[in-house]
């Protein structure tokens, strides 16, 4: 009985926590279609004005283009580098490996504001600051750990003898990598690419510091925040929410598809060979 009551309370509490987390997301969605400039209750009428304002704003469109270029480039670089680091960790033992892994995984634990300042100073010394390239460089640093962790997780599921069998059958290391490891990790690489893209798509502090006049979309939103109240933030937020959620959902689907496929296969082989066990 007490367990039942505590269960109800716990469920209600969990719902409350989720409400707290999704209230701002939901409100931004609702108010992006609301006519009032100052969002209050009761709601005004339905409007698409804020979206129209967003799409006719040159700086927003420019920022959107920057964001798309930056996130695509840094996700690609980060996934490639993350794969390299994860495969290195999977295959080799060497002294200093812990340091190697720490270097690969540490960047997200350093506050963005500090990385932003450090990279601004460093890149401007190299003459690389204030452009899309500088944001790509910085975002690759913070995205690589995510790709590395995901690929490493996938590689820990592989049967190590598969690659060895390929070598025994005469495959070169490159061929084994190409025909054994890459197909095995392909779906994870897609997932990692989408997830790192989402990470870059959302990052504002470092991009703001190193980007100079090249603004990404979140940096533009930061600009709006510094200015006066404008429901355009809601419209941008809802659009960005749509895009990143789509990216995360697709990534999750790709990452979990293999699992469910394998389960389905197991099920079907069990059905097809009723006498085997």
């Amino acid at each position: 009985m007490t367990r039942k009551i505590s269960g109800v309370i716990l469920h209600a509490y969990l719902a409350l926590v989720l409400l707290f987390l999704f209230a701002p997301i939901g409100a931004s969605l609702v108010f992006s279609f609301n006519s009032d400039r100052f969002p209050t209750l009761p709601l005004g009428s339905f409007t698409l004005d804020w979206y129209a304002a967003v799409f006719s704003d040159e700086r927003v469109l420019e920022a959107l283009v920057n964001t798309l270029i930056v996130s695509t480039a840094s996700a690609t670089l980060a996934t490639a580098l993350g794969f390299g680091a994860a495969y290195t960790d999977y295959r080799y033992q060497f002294s200093g490996k812990r340091l190697y892994l720490a270097l690969g995984l540490l960047p997200p634990t350093v506050p963005a504001i500090i990385l932003g300042l450090a990279m601004l100073a460093y890149l401007s010394r190299l003459g690389l600051s204030g452009s899309r390239l500088s944001i790509v460089i910085a975002h690759t640093v913070i995205c690589t750990p995510f790709a590395m962790a995901l690929v490493r997780l996938r590689l820990s599921q592989i049967d190590a003898s598969l690659e060895q069998a390929a070598w025994n059958l005469g495959a070169s290391q490159w061929a084994a990598l190409r025909y054994v490891i890459l197909p095995f990790t392909a779906s994870t690489l897609c997932g990692a690419w989408l997830l790192t893209m989402a990470v870059s798509f959302d990052e504002f502090a470092i991009a703001w510091f190193v980007g100079g006049l090249s603004e990404t979309l979140p940096v533009r939103v930061l600009g709006f925040l510094q200015g006066q109240v404008s429901p355009r933030i809601n419209a941008i937020g809802t659009l960005v929410f749509g895009v990143t959620t789509a990216l995360v959902v697709v990534a999750q689907l790709i990452l979990t598809r293999r699992l469910s496929l394998r389960r389905a296969e197991e099920r079907s082989t069990n059905l097809n060979t009723p006498f085997s066990s």
Partner: protein
Amino acid sequence: MHHLSSAAPTPLTEVSTSFELKAIAPQSSGRAGFALTHALPPLAWQLAFFVGPLLFLLVLTFWSVHNFRLEPAFEMGNWKRMLTQQHVWDTYLRTVMGAAVSTVLATVLAFPAAFAIAFRLSENARRACLFLLVVPFFTSYLVRVYSWQVFLSDEGLINSLLTMTGFETRRLLNTDLATQIGYLTLSLPLVVLIQAMSLLLIDSKLIEAARNLGCGPMRVVFAVIVPAARVGITVAALFCFIFSFGDFVSPLYLGGGSSPTLSILIVDTTKAGQQWPRAAVLALLMISTLMAVAWVMTAFAYRKKT
């Protein structure tokens, strides 16, 4: 992160002994070259663009600024200037306290939710819930902070609800409470996720045994479950501290910025003052604080039972 070290790769030399027929290992001549092609690029990138900037930050603290131009030097002036000002230390204390409060809040508020996810939900509901917790992590933090402004402002949603139900309005925006709400928005999903994961890893036999030996439900939670999940709970708390300590958006746009934190100070010093070396001193102060906190907390998490 234990999965990173779990599967020990088989060295090439062992391959040949593990098969009855003599295995044909790939040509050894290209082996080193092959390894370097994927081991080196990530290392080079992180050294050049992660370690490099952080080391340069240290060098930068000794440089000077003349006429808005950076000049290489070896002066202690920036350190002296920043570390002898009372308002810097006030800000430091405020930032540490704010982050500490948010860490305690997030840990305490997240635990019942993580508990419910781990022990009271069906398999499907749990998976849905974990997925829901990932979603905020990938939505724009800035937009969510703006939304909280809409909720908390004087004519905002919460106050208009209060008016409609006949209560007095309250000042909510530009308060410490608002800053904490922002911090929680940032870190609560991750804290619940990590806590739930570590609760799921607890051996259920442990809990069964405690119950069979007559432990009450509360005692099971605090004497068995919490100690067993200590590492996860501490790691989650550490992440929360790092997030809140470094965040400049919530204290600025929800807290009002009238009582700045270190990160706001860094933004101001860098953007408005063009005093990068002084901002670098503050950044190093933050890094050393974070390293100390991380060291203490991991020591606590992995401490041997006494």
